[in-house]
Symmetry: C2
Subunit: 200 residues, 2 copies
């Protein structure tokens, strides 16, 4: 059995340090994020250190945090884009060349690691597969359950620029001009109602 | 003039440490993220330390990273939700009580800090307002350009559960079952094309 805190280096850091970073950022050593760490590691290796890569992640769950932790791409700086497909895959790419590498969880390969496969396919309740049992399997699997392929980007390769803003005549706040005259909240599409006076 | 690296504490840490965290995660000390740090700081103070708050952020630009850095909420763990309105506002809330506090950039207050106001409203080209000129203004402004209000959540307060997954008969990968029989990429809505053989 592989010692999970062995000397191995992932994403340019000692594995133990990566696992600490995951816990500090995400709240716990989420199995999907640990797997995502290996996905980022491979994609980074394929694209090479000289490219300042942008990223696309194909699920909202866990995987965006692997990219945010182990590459310079974040949601807030716009270098990471997320498509909400629930596919466990990511692409690092050179936005000028529109070329990159996609890495994904390969279900066929995952069959060699039944606990990992069953966890990913949600075939066992969480209580029956505790983290201390699943995590060593993921650490042992690493790239062995992944596949990768060079790709050419046909969409999403442009960085999003901030568009024009309007000031909403109802709330007085700035908002994306594409929404029209009033902001989404004042048009009734908000997610909250005031419950007290304005402070400050 | 306030010394930006003075003894002040923001989000429970020395200001200098916060600024270092911003640079390490986001790539540089983005003005919007520094302002966002003060927004998170205030929202955290209002909701109190005993609540493990979830978050909604009302823009994709910069602000999500302030929440991800200075609260336990991340995109990948699902505690942070983003609505793409380009409103510079965030809400921290107790998801059981559905109550929280919204903090926003108050344009009226921002008028007292013309450089900040002009930057935010994009009324000056970036080259004319370099970071070393804008950042001290934002550090001096802090909460003085913000407003806050108690709110009740009427939407977005539920944590998203992963839904069912199918295996795509074309690519063999798992994907969100709500997309139907084939995954979005194999239906033609993908963002990249293969440019080499499968590795691994």
């Amino acid at each position: 059995m592989l010692n999970p805190l062995s000397e191995s280096t992932v994403c340019g850091r000692p594995l133990a340090e990566c696992l600490q970073m995951i816990e500090a950022f995400h709240g716990f050593q989420a199995p999907g994020l640990v797997l995502g760490m290996y996905m980022v590691d491979w994609a980074k290796g394929l694209i090479g250190p000289e490219v300042e890569a942008d990223a696309v992640v194909e699920t909202r769950h866990c995987l965006p945090d692997a990219v945010q932790l182990f590459t310079p791409c974040t949601v807030g700086n716009g270098w990471l884009k997320i498509v909400d497909w629930d596919k466990y895959a990511l692409t690092l790419y050179d936005r000028r060349e529109r070329s990159g590498h996609r890495v994904w969880l390969d279900l066929e390969k995952a069959r060699s690691f039944p606990k990992l496969h069953n966890w990913f396919m949600r075939q066992v309740p969480k209580q029956e597969l505790p983290l201390e049992e699943l995590l060593p399997v993921i650490l042992a699997a690493g790239r062995k359950v992944l596949s990768a392929r060079a790709v050419v980007l046909t969409d999403l390769y442009r960085r999003c620029k901030k568009a024009g803003i309007n000031i909403c005549p109802s709330c007085g706040e700035a908002f994306a001009a594409r929404y029209g005259e009033r902001c989404a909240a004042c048009r009734g599409d908000g997610y909250c109602s005031p419950a007290g006076r304005i402070l400050g």
